[in-house]
Symmetry: C2
Subunit: 238 residues, 2 copies
Amino acid sequence: MNYPVMIPTGKISYRDVKDHILDRIRDRTWAAGAIMPGEVELAQEFGCARATVNRAMRELADEGILDRKRKAGTRVNASPIRQARFKIPLVRAEVEATGASYRYALVNREVLTVPEWLCARLDLKPADRVLHLQCMHFADNTPFQFEDRWINIAAVPTCESADFATLGPNEWLVREVPFTDAEISFSATVATERMASFLSLSVGEPVFTAERATWLQTQPVTFARMSFGRGYKLTTRF
Amino acid sequence: MNYPVMIPTGKISYRDVKDHILDRIRDRTWAAGAIMPGEVELAQEFGCARATVNRAMRELADEGILDRKRKAGTRVNASPIRQARFKIPLVRAEVEATGASYRYALVNREVLTVPEWLCARLDLKPADRVLHLQCMHFADNTPFQFEDRWINIAAVPTCESADFATLGPNEWLVREVPFTDAEISFSATVATERMASFLSLSVGEPVFTAERATWLQTQPVTFARMSFGRGYKLTTRF
DNA sequence: CAGTGGTCTAGACCACACA
DNA sequence: GTGTGGTCTAGACCACTGC
């Protein structure tokens, strides 16, 4: 099989190596599941340092294209668990990125002891107190997202005195509270009466829903359920 | 501010550097938006090579935590466009990962000229021919996913002679056809009558839907719409 | 045990972007 | 211009793991 001559312009980049490798995977020089040459061999062939090949292969492994094991060598991943990366921006940024103007409104605010379902969801104790906020996010005054947020007061004591009238809890938390772990999930749910009224939907309409929980070490920080307006799509290219 | 003494056990790893950096971001040593020391300085401080610090900071930038610019230096990302990575496995793998047994069935197969909406969606020409497949994926004989797939025959001529009775187009394509670009999006849609019957839903129920389009260079390869059964959630931790 | 990838180093040059 | 990150190199040692 013939490959294009290396560009004589200077050194080989790890990006060049990635491209070459991808080419050979595409043209089946290295079929799925097949083992490929080791780093040293490839480095010789490409005329670069092993570190360069290493970075190329490491990134490809990171992207799910290759499967690397010490001693066993590197293989082309047979069942390509391709992974997509989604950016999770702040609502404000997401809205403004579309060119629309962003508006925020606090709908409801209350302090209560944690409800059972949340207690289980976040590993809270039954007596823990939480700040419950409901907010609306608008794009050009059209309902964009309904946010149902719960904050663990024990983890974020300052939240009780915070004024969420103008700044959303989303942005406030990002600025004020660090977290170490997060879980996010997407699903399709049914619009409740309350949600429907806020989002200008009919009851029963499908709603794209995101749920996000965050922890600081092992301490639960916050849980939020974001319900998006009609027609929302989460998209990414890779 | 005091930091734990470096573990005297051998060299400093880029992972150690990452941890240290994250710690200092969390404790506000470097606040959001603030500029942080350069690579050389940090390398001195941590007692390691610049390359080590570089790798640490590069990965953090890659994860959206830091923002790096030549000459301008490195800053803590103020609006953390945290990104989540979702694995997009084959349906088979996804089902089997839950411990359930996987079953596939071809529902419908036809060759036709590309419908208008798809023509626009994939940049096809109005006269192009496509293979249209509809399939079901079951988990323990419970409907798991309904797959509506369109393959560009010009791009994948062999698909016309392929037998999709036992092997799903999903797996077949992954094995046979390389692609360079893909777009994937998720949304909440309404169950049509056909979908509802296949997925054991009621008409009008919300359906979690994934759409995926792939290209080889600039040539459209395939478009698929996957409709998931009731209660499906796409989850990730980070 | 021995081969493969994983990582660190010290040094060098380059490219971009801000002043 | 000039400082900061981006990358390559050559060499070294280590750690895991299949044989």
